[in-house]
């Protein structure tokens, strides 16, 4: 009973934004004190499609960029966390990993821009990748750092003693063990890149037109209906991905 109540409560809490945004997206001139819109129209969606006919290409670019960032950051972070666990002073490396976060993002983007320009990366996907990895890589590293504990090393050694090759030990023991953390890291770094406007727009001087770059400005502008349409355009693709990958994402790996 309590369990059902909790599920309903949280389900409702998490569904409400989607419901309200969907209503706002089709409701022109919906004002206090009307609880429901007086009329419905797809005008905002149509005007957004008309204002930018490259939305589909932007969607593709966003997916590609976010996938690359997620894969590189998570794989890199996993390897880095392992390498850090083997250094003489892992604590020092851990502390260093926080450095990019000591600068608030609004500041970090502006301060690294001169260097991105000097590295001839400004205006290119390369510059955007450097900027996004600067945030995503230490994030994944720190998140996955907790995995390489004494315990994981012991499991690895146990597997080796039982005759596994290093590759087998990695694939059949360590990877399944780390999967819950890895998928959280993958998911978070994907979204981090998917939703990024500031770094992508600034470091590419507007030239890497991801879906987020194309519609983000509308979210902050005066037109609430349009802002809701833009918000949904940002939310729905990752929501769909989550739905499709639900099984892969949530499968409890067999520890063999």
């Amino acid at each position: 009973m309590r369990s059902k109540l909790l599920t309903t409560l949280l389900g409702g809490l998490f569904a409400l934004p989607f419901g309200l945004l969907a209503l706002l997206a089709v409701a022109p001139g919906w004002r206090f004190p009307a609880v429901l819109p007086a009329e419905y129209s797809l005008g905002a969606l149509r005007s957004l499609l008309a204002a930018d006919n490259e939305l589909l290409a932007g969607l593709g670019r966003s997916l590609l960029l976010a996938s690359v960032v997620a894969a590189v950051a998570t794989a890199g972070g996993f390897g880095l966390a392992w390498a850090i666990a083997r250094t003489a002073r892992p604590g020092r490396w851990e502390a260093l990993s926080y450095l990019p976060y000591a600068l608030p993002p609004v500041l970090l983007a502006v301060l690294i821009q001169p260097f991105i320009i000097r590295l001839h990366l400004s205006g290119s996907v390369g510059g955007v990748l450097v900027g996004l990895l600067l945030i995503a890589l230490p994030f994944a590293t720190l998140l996955l750092r907790s995995f390489w504990s004494q315990q994981a090393t012991e499991y690895e050694q146990l597997a080796r003693t039982l005759g596994c090759t290093p590759r087998q030990a990695f694939q059949q023991v360590l990877l399944p063990l780390a999967w819950p953390l890895l998928r959280t890291a993958l998911f978070q770094t994907f979204l981090l890149s998917w939703f990024d406007f500031g770094f992508t727009n600034l470091l590419s001087v507007g030239k890497v037109r991801t879906l987020t770059v194309q519609v983000f400005t509308y979210v902050g502008e005066a037109n609430a209906q349009l802002a809701a349409v833009a918000s949904l355009l940002l939310l729905l693709p990752p929501a769909l991905l989550l739905w499709v990958n639900k099984k892969a994402l949530l499968r409890r790996p067999d520890l063999g």
Partner: protein, 284 residues
Amino acid sequence: MSSKLRSGKLLLGLYALLVVGLPLAGLGYALLGSVGVVGPLAAGFTGRYWLALGADTGLLKSALFSLWVAGASLGLSVAAALGLVLGAQATLRRRPFPTLLYVPLLMPSLVMGFYLFQLLSRAGWLSRLSFQLGLTHSLDAFPELVQDAAGGGIILAQVLLAFPFLTLLFQAIYQESRLDDYRQLTQTLGASAAQFRWRVAVPVLLRRAAPALLLSGIATLGAYDLPLLLGRPYPQMLSVYIATRLQRFDLRELPAAYLAGFLVAVGLLGLILVLIRLTRRHAF
């Protein structure tokens, strides 16, 4: 094994170049900018902006306000996440929970800010609902839930964004650390459920999640979109304070903005180091 170690060293070297080199270079740029040595209108060394700092309490006030918002948000999110993981473990394992918790992670902060504004402002949806139900009789009668003096709107938004992530994280650690086995073990040994929670589970979860908690707290300290939408122009949170100086109207203000940014970064760095040390001291 040695080639493995060598590639590990190479990886770490590259990592240092990115994660240490670039931010430090940026920090150096900010420092040099604050004394007028680099920057678009740099005219040579000057201590003017550092000297003017004494008369300006704005930075300190926004630092304190940011600490309050970050502390309150993190505290509430951790409490909610721990409550779920320890109090509703069975529910969390059942459908639809594992998927459900990923859903709020899909909200970028700007969208969250826009949504909460449309939901909670005085002309927002809840206010309309309460008006129709006869609970309030005018717009002004609805309580101020966003853009309030205490930053409650910002805190609520941060909690909504952070607690599902923390729940997922705690749950992953709970499973991976086999806390369930420990629970059974402690119970066999005659300990109560509360003793297991407070003496075993909470310390393990908090200790192992410490880096992520720290990150989450720092991200809140540096948040920009949410305070801009749901906060007031005064008191400002740190990012808004810096952005106001960085982006508004006047390039001559830039050294002062660089200075503020430099001090914030150094302050945050100091805070991070202290917190890391603290979590280590309490590690066992």
